[in-house]
């Protein structure tokens, strides 16, 4: 699966797509492959704040638990209830399904993140 350039990527395998000061955050195809069948997500409440580079929740597959790291900081304005209730869907469509939406405090934060080809390069 290609890593589209309409968004940025973290070394921890999240993606972030910015439009204005709203950022959609999800996990990459590589992340879902590594996790295997996703069965559960623990996500922040709407209104809570996330900090770039810090954990905002966890994602669990049958075999493992991983932390979710925020690519950008800001206020959580929406949590994807459909994904939370049907976490297995993230395995099929990781790049279309955002997990949380964040109103970012500093859109400049994304400049430090990877673009699609840099991220692909990281995976080798």
């Amino acid at each position: 699966m290609p890593y589209p350039d309409d968004r940025k990527y973290t070394k921890d395998h999240e993606w972030v797509r910015l439009s204005g000061d709203l950022a959609e955050v999800g996990i990459t195809d590589y992340a879902q492959q590594q996790l295997g069948d996703v069965v559960y997500m623990e996500l922040p409440a709407v209104g809570s704040r996330v900090i770039a580079g810090q954990s905002f929740g966890s994602i669990e597959s049958v075999k493992a638990v991983s932390e979710l790291f925020a690519p950008v900081g800001g206020e959580v304005v929406e949590v994807n209830g459909a994904v939370k209730d049907h976490p297995e869907t993230i395995n099929k469509d990781p790049h279309s399904l955002w997990i949380i939406k964040v109103r970012v405090s500093d859109p400049g934060e994304t400049a430090a993140l990877l673009d699609g080809s840099q991220y692909q390069g990281l995976l080798g």
Binding site: G36, D37, V39, Y40, E42, S58, E60, S61, V62, K63, V65, E88, N91
Partner: protein, 370 residues
């Protein structure tokens, strides 16, 4: 001779086959093993509804033979292997004098004075050293570690028999659960046992290592119309947990007794000589203070191995296994809890990475085939 010190992972005879099948390979108990092929959930469901084929060649085989082999096995196995007929097997424990688990195992009676013990991969060397020590005191008997002489392939699931039967002249319907028979599978010399670790009907097939690939391929080919799939250790773990089979190193170990683990049924009290008997007898009289129970999560979340069972801020127990189960579709697990919290329906609190979540004690097994 001393074993060279090496960190290199051991490989089963099917390693190249797994790689060619794009399995995800992981280190497990010193072996490089397939954890999943197409995905744990789909492999788990295949075993519950059709059939799955597992490479479990990492498991250890220790054989005990000699004129006094019965006395030797009676000493190290907490069941009563003297009651086994030739061709019959039983679940058993290799215990410390304290009645705790060095390992769990299946004991197969190959001949009147010849037993085969199938033990966990990570415990082979430890078990073998212990068994050797004990066997010398039992008279004329010897133990050998014959693990490298066997590859072990399991086919598990309701379609197992129809998949395997065309490959063997052994009449599979004649093999009752926990019995075994010798013959050929795909023209390879094989011992076919009706045993497993999934809660489904199925067979475990011992073959010479150089025949493993041939047998593996033949089973998958024969299983094509039944949609049998290769299954990895990930599904093996979720399947055994749904069936509430204990995992050594997680649910049972050298700190837990047979009775605390709820496995009293495996004890052969008619066996007067097994190591650990006195302590278990005493514990049976006095009663246990903690017990391994099954639980289902009430709150959202998945409790995992090592999470604490708490009462307020005080840890009172520990989760030994836990997962979201593919077939039952719930988060379940096993935990040691104080006896006062062990009865069915009791609500317990589990600390999941700093968040306390409620669970309910439920009877085991979680899953029993219909």
């Amino acid at each position: 001779m001393t074993e060279p010190v090496t960190t290199e992972l051991r490989k089963t005879p099917l390693n190249a086959r797994h790689r060619a099948s794009k399995a995800r390979m992981v280190p497990f108990a010193g072996w490089e093993m397939p954890i999943e092929y197409a995905g744990i959930t789909s492999e788990h469901m295949a075993v519950r509804t059709r059939a799955g084929v597992f490479d479990v060649s990492h498991m250890g085989e220790i054989e005990i033979a000699g004129k006094d082999a019965v006395a030797a096995v009676q000493r190290i196995a907490c069941s009563d292997p003297s009651q086994l007929k030739v061709g019959q097997a039983q679940y058993s424990g290799l215990l410390t004098p304290e009645g705790t688990f060095l390992d769990d195992m299946i004991v197969y009676r190959m001949a009147p004075t010849h037993f085969l013990l199938v033990v966990n991969a990570g415990n082979i060397a430890k078990n073998y050293a212990w068994i050797n020590q004990q066997v010398t005191t039992a008279g004329d008997a010897a133990a050998i570690d014959s693990s490298s002489r066997y590859a072990l392939i399991a086919i598990q699931g309701p379609a197992s028999r129809e998949v395997l039967q065309p490959l063997t002249g052994v009449e599979l319907t004649d093999i009752a659960p926990f019995w075994f028979s010798h013959g050929e599978v795909a023209s390879a010399r094989a011992t076919i046992a009706r045993t497993g670790y999934t809660g489904e009907d199925g067979y475990e097939i011992f073959v010479p290592p150089n025949m493993a690939d041939r047998v593996w391929q033949a089973i998958l080919e024969s299983g094509r119309s039944a949609d049998a799939v290769p299954a990895g250790l990930g599904a093996r773990d979720t399947l055994r947990l749904e069936a509430s089979m204990r995992l050594h190193g997680a649910d049972i170990d050298e700190s837990t007794t047979v009775l605390e683990a709820g496995l009293g049924w495996m004890i052969g009290w008619t066996n007067e000589t097994f190591i650990g008997r006195d302590r278990l007898r005493a514990q049976k009289e006095s009663g246990v203070s903690r017990r391994l129970v099954g639980f289902e999560m009430i709150d959202r979340g998945i409790a995992r191995h090592g999470h604490r069972v708490v009462q307020g801020d005080t840890p009172v127990g520990v989760v030994t296994s836990g997962t979201q189960t593919p077939y039952l579709g719930k988060a379940i697990g096993m935990a040691y809890v104080p006896v006062a919290q062990s009865s069915r329906g009791t609500e317990i609190d589990i600390d999941i990475r700093g968040r306390v979540a409620k669970a309910r004690v439920v009877p085991m097994p979680f899953y029993k085939r219909g």
